[in-house]
């Protein structure tokens, strides 16, 4: 029955709003008939009902004609554009649920790219066309009906008969229609994956020598420091710091590039050893105190390596951007059923209000008097975003606080 109604609605090309209008017309006619019968002329109930249905039919016809005209206009424009592109284009009447979306027009590119005939496609719903494994990605499509005209919703989904090709779909609400456009992005995705691999290999090749140079300079200072003149010592110190900074930048860029091009699968992680490890590493790099929470175990959904990087960045930043006699970072955890909050509070120099807006931007540095690469916070935000978490900055009268929120492990 639902299928018949769907087809019928597809054939007359109307939306739920039109059906409501038709029902209102019938009800209004019945009401007018009853009033006329009561006060003016004695109509029989059959005549009242008949006239009501005639009025409804005329209303439906007018609506359908209006829709067909609008559809024809849009279709005409799309036919013109679709000749110049290999994109898949289609029109569907506006529906509330995605499984009810049935195309009323498709362009020729569908047959070329997917192998389906245009007539076949007009009998299928959007869900019949999508690769079953990608069906869950269609959830966002339900929001299309709620969009205002002209706004669009997009996502990368494979077409079932598209020979493994991946299309980026754009669903645009236009009046009573949804305009659908699918662009083949398979090659672009392959190129992005290759670029990511290239970035990863390059990062590895650059990171090694940079770290080695830093360690060699440090070893000269440690082994022969007593015989090296002061100006030479300063320069060796600079070589060591800059090389280390280069290595850190390369690692951060490599991680960011990798993150942008892959999906991160979050898994249950105990964050306490990670915070402990990050604090230990940060104390090796910077002088200061780190106060740790007393919990033994706190499980969140995350990734060991990525969260370790986030925690290290936040603790090290707290010790680095600090002019206190004893730089301190205090880590506090607040477990909750919905989100686990990890708060990193420091007694550092803080961030001036005018610099806070760009705090998480790549290569942005809010302090000129301290060394830094400007990638730590950008990387932390990118990692947390991939793990469905978040990070926010809270200014304090004496220092700063960063609050990391992560999903608890079920």
């Amino acid at each position: 029955m639902r299928s018949i109604l769907r087809r019928l609605r597809h054939r007359v090309c109307c939306s739920p709003k039109d059906i409501v209008e038709v029902v209102v017309v019938i009800a209004a006619n019945v009401l007018v008939g009853i009033v006329i019968n009561r006060f003016i002329v004695a109509f029989t109930p059959e005549i009242i009902l008949l006239s009501s249905f005639w009025a409804a039919a005329v209303a439906l016809l007018i609506t359908t004609l209006q829709m067909k005209t609008a559809a024809a206009k849009v279709q005409h424009q799309l036919v013109y554009w679709s000749k110049a592109t290999n994109d898949l284009m289609a029109i569907a009447p506006l529906c509330v649920h995605r499984h009810e979306i049935v195309f009323s027009w498709v362009n020729e590119a569908w047959t070329r790219q997917t192998g389906w005939e245009q007539e076949e496609l007009l009998q299928m719903s959007v869900e019949d066309i999508i690769e079953p494994e990608d069906l869950d990605k269609l959830a966002w499509l339900d929001a299309v009906t709620g969009l205002s005209c002209g706004t669009e919703n997009r996502g990368s989904i494979r077409c079932k008969n598209g020979h493994g090709r991946i299309f980026e779909w754009r669903f645009v609400k236009n009046g009573e229609f949804i305009l659908v456009c699918g662009t083949d992005i398979t090659d672009a995705m392959q190129m992005a994956a290759e670029l990511s691999r290239f970035a990863s290999i390059t990062a590895h090749q650059l990171k090694g020598p940079a770290r080695t140079a830093s360690a060699l300079a440090t070893s000269v200072l440690e082994d022969y420091g007593h015989t090296v003149p002061e100006p030479a010592k300063e320069r060796l110190q600079l070589i060591s710091e800059r090389s280390q900074s280069l290595a850190e930048t390369v690692v951060a860029i490599s991680m960011l590039t990798g993150l942008r091009n892959k999906n991160v699968e979050a898994y249950p992680v105990n964050i306490m050893p990670l915070i402990l490890g990050a604090a230990k590493k940060a104390k090796e790099a910077r002088a200061g105190m780190v106060y740790l929470p007393s919990h033994d175990k706190l499980m969140v959904m995350g990734d060991t390596v990525l969260l370790g990087e986030v925690f290290y960045n936040l603790i090290e930043n707290g010790l680095k951007f600090n002019q206190a006699k004893v730089p301190c970072v205090s880590v506090e955890v607040e477990p909750d059923d919905l989100m686990v909050s990890i708060k990193f509070v420091d007694n550092g120099v803080g961030i001036a209000p005018e610099y806070r807006a760009q705090l998480f931007a790549m290569f942005y540095r809010a302090h000129s008097e301290f060394p830094g690469t400007g990638v730590g916070l950008a990387l932390a935000q990118a990692i947390l975003s991939k793990l469905d978490g978040s990070i926010r900055y809270i200014p304090l009268p004496m220092g700063s606080a960063f609050v990391v929120s992560l999903r608890p492990s079920i």
């Binding site: 770290r211 080695t212 140079a213 060699l216 082994d223 090796e284 390596v305």
Partner: protein, 141 residues
């Protein structure tokens, strides 16, 4: 005498590793010898003569990215040899990606340390490795 096989192609990294080893072992009075191999094939040649150990080592420090035969392939070869499956092998590399760490442990490495080797890291490595081999087991001869 403790014998350490250092499998490292980069001279600077090898120099830093040897420095870390000397910083940790010299103050303890342990007599040691570091034998260097520049790739996996040379390392296997130094370790094995067919199925037999050519010479015994107390520790193998193995870089992952090596010419000719990679560190992982060398580790596989060591573990595949009947005489090498008990040999303490510690992977030493600049890569800290989860995939590389997992691959190393799946191929039965005894430990993992980041390059360039620092005295503090080497100290931890030998603490863990030797406590296992000296307190709980005997290094195969």
């Amino acid at each position: 005498m403790k014998r350490i096989l250092l499998v490292e192609d980069d001279d600077a990294d090898a120099m830093l590793a040897e420095r870390a080893i000397s910083r940790v072992l010299q103050p303890t009075g342990v007599v040691y010898e570091v034998i260097r191999a520049r790739d996996g094939i040379v390392a296997c040649d130094k370790l094995f003569d067919g199925e037999k150990l050519r010479q015994s080592f107390d520790l193998v420090l193995l870089d992952l990215h090596l010419p000719r035969m990679s560190g992982i392939d060398c580790l596989k070869a060591i573990r595949a040899n009947h005489s090498g499956w008990k040999l303490p092998v510690v992977i030493m590399t600049t890569s800290n990606t989860q995939a590389d760490i997992e691959k190393a442990y799946l191929n039965r490495t005894n430990g993992y340390v980041e390059k360039p080797l620092r005295p503090v890291d080497f100290n931890q490595v030998i603490q863990k490795t030797f406590s296992f081999w000296l307190d709980l087991n005997q290094v195969p001869q």
